[in-house]
Symmetry: C2
Subunit: 320 residues, 2 copies
């Protein structure tokens, strides 16, 4: 079997240059790259990259587990991951799971099989113990608030961010307040719900279970949320909506129906997307691209388990 | 070196079951999967998946070259690719290039190195000859209109779609018409420009070079496009905008500035995103998810070079 030394000798370059070419390292001169690729071709080496991975135990592939790619929240995190991964010579393998357990297991199995060097879990359905059982095969980074001693994590303090949102709405004089979530079962939803209950109790405000809405992901979910809100005999006067896309869908549908925001119903979103800026939606800005970048940095340092929390900011606009 | 037969023997299952587990094939009973994984563990086989790839020449990874993931157009194509790829047991490796040549070459090199079984090129900057030089290493599928005999392609007839858009705007009585593109140099832009020139000439309408706008990708580009339009002493009365996101940015900024659409300026978009539906933007519907699905089908049949064209539809709403 041809080895790297032979290629280096044939190409007239150093072994480390061959290694850089094989790993798609950016800092190789075009001439040297060409010589190496020609040597590989001549020595019929092309099928052997997996043998190199075998000996190195590295593929320079980083798996990303996420429910949807086609969404501003995950899109922004993936952007951050991609930028940082590219900077360290890694490529990303996307596992779009739609929250199916099987898809997450496929990614974890690929980590076990050394097809991936690590995994970043943006959002998950699998239990923590499942993730922990794969931890010995390579770094698994969680994009969620956790105190797990075995896995590094990067997160926003969703409890504090939601509390900030709710305190702002209450300070504006609203008392009949509802909120919407993606899935009730997620860690983020748990924290948002806890914050809601705590703050409402603190202010002695009524916590109406009818005003907890679910399934808010995309702009079209905002249309449904508006219709749901419209159909309620007893309506909340303000809704804290899980993300700006859904908030935008709500507000645009409200406008068409002659319902005024914030006069008839106040809306506060999350994320601070371009769309929220365009529509003057009050929102909580979340540093999503930074989550992605930091997740890759945590992956780079598997020896040190860290739990990093990033900051948020209240953006006051015109919908509360 | 442990081989598949030994694992099968140890686990008490067939060789094909081991193969299915190694390839993350969905149809394996949990019990058998567990036995195989235990055997792998016991035989210290985990580092050897790349050796299997070496012997099979397959990794079940499909590369996708695209400029941005965080965009409805590519997001929808990626969704289609992911669905179809998952259905045939493939995972996707994303190469987000921002139109940097180097990034495209990295993907192509991974095809050469057999780290990828094929590549779908959603949009590119590299010359066709570069792609052709890698074609011997595995199927490369183009999501663009091409008559290349060596590579399969899936596309929308952008010339016809743009012509349809322009004829509609002209039929509505507009004569001072501009249009916006992403990059001038892309194949799609070439076809849209050709359609524009042909149809305008046919109707003996003035083709004002000042009314060709560039750099239209995201919602914020629509803000700039509006500012550019506002600053022109001689303004077009209608603009065909490269995608709904940019059209939305234009329209929302126009609304804030007291400019009425379509009374002061008519706008037609492309894609038929949720956002265009919400904002009643007239648009050309493009079957983006189908492009993704069909691209994977073409990848599955590398022996047959095909050029598939998908249909478009004019969606009449309120902005023209």
């Amino acid at each position: 079997m041809t080895n790297i030394k032979e290629i280096a000798q044939f190409a007239g370059v150093s072994v480390s240059t061959v290694s850089r070419v094989l790993n798609n390292h950016p800092y190789v001169s075009p001439d040297k790259r060409e010589s190496v690729l020609q040597a590989i071709e001549r020595l019929n080496y092309t099928r052997n990259i997996n043998a190199i991975h075998l000996s190195k135990g590295k593929t320079n592939l980083l798996g990303i587990i996420l429910p949807f790619t086609n969404h501003p929240y995950y899109g922004a995190i993936v952007n951050g991951i991609t930028k940082q991964a590219n900077a360290i010579g890694y490529h990303i393998v996307i596992f779009q799971t739609h929250y199916e357990r099987e898809k997450e297991i496929q990614a974890l199995n690929m980590l076990q099989m050394k097809q991936l060097d690590g995994i970043i879990v943006c959002s998950r359905i699998s239990e923590m113990k499942v993730l922990l059982s794969y931890q010995k095969y390579g770094p698994i980074i969680l994009c969620e608030d956790t105190a797990q001693a075995e896995l590094s994590s990067i997160s926003i303090d969703h409890y504090a961010a939601f509390s900030c949102a709710l305190e702002y709405v209450i300070a504006k004089g609203y008392t009949k307040i509802g909120y919407s979530l993606g899935r009730k079962k997620s860690r983020n939803s748990y924290l948002r719900t806890k914050a809601f209950n705590d703050i409402m109790t603190k202010h002695q405000l009524m916590n109406n279970q009818e005003w907890l809405f679910e399934g808010s992901y995309h702009i079209k979910d905002g249309v449904q949320l508006f219709q749901h809100w419209s159909s309620l005999p007893n309506k909340p006067e303000a809704i804290i909506i899980t993300n700006d896309d859904t908030a935008a869908g709500f507000i645009l549908t409200a406008n068409k129906s002659g319902i005024r925001v914030p006069e008839d119903v106040a809306i506060l979103g999350f994320n601070n997307d371009s769309l929220s800026e365009m529509l003057d939606i009050s929102t909580i800005s979340l540093p999503l691209e930074w989550i992605g970048k930091m997740a890759v940095e945590l992956f780079e340092n598997p020896g040190i388990i860290k739990h990093v929390k990033l900051d948020y900011a209240l953006i006051k606009r015109k919908t509360v």
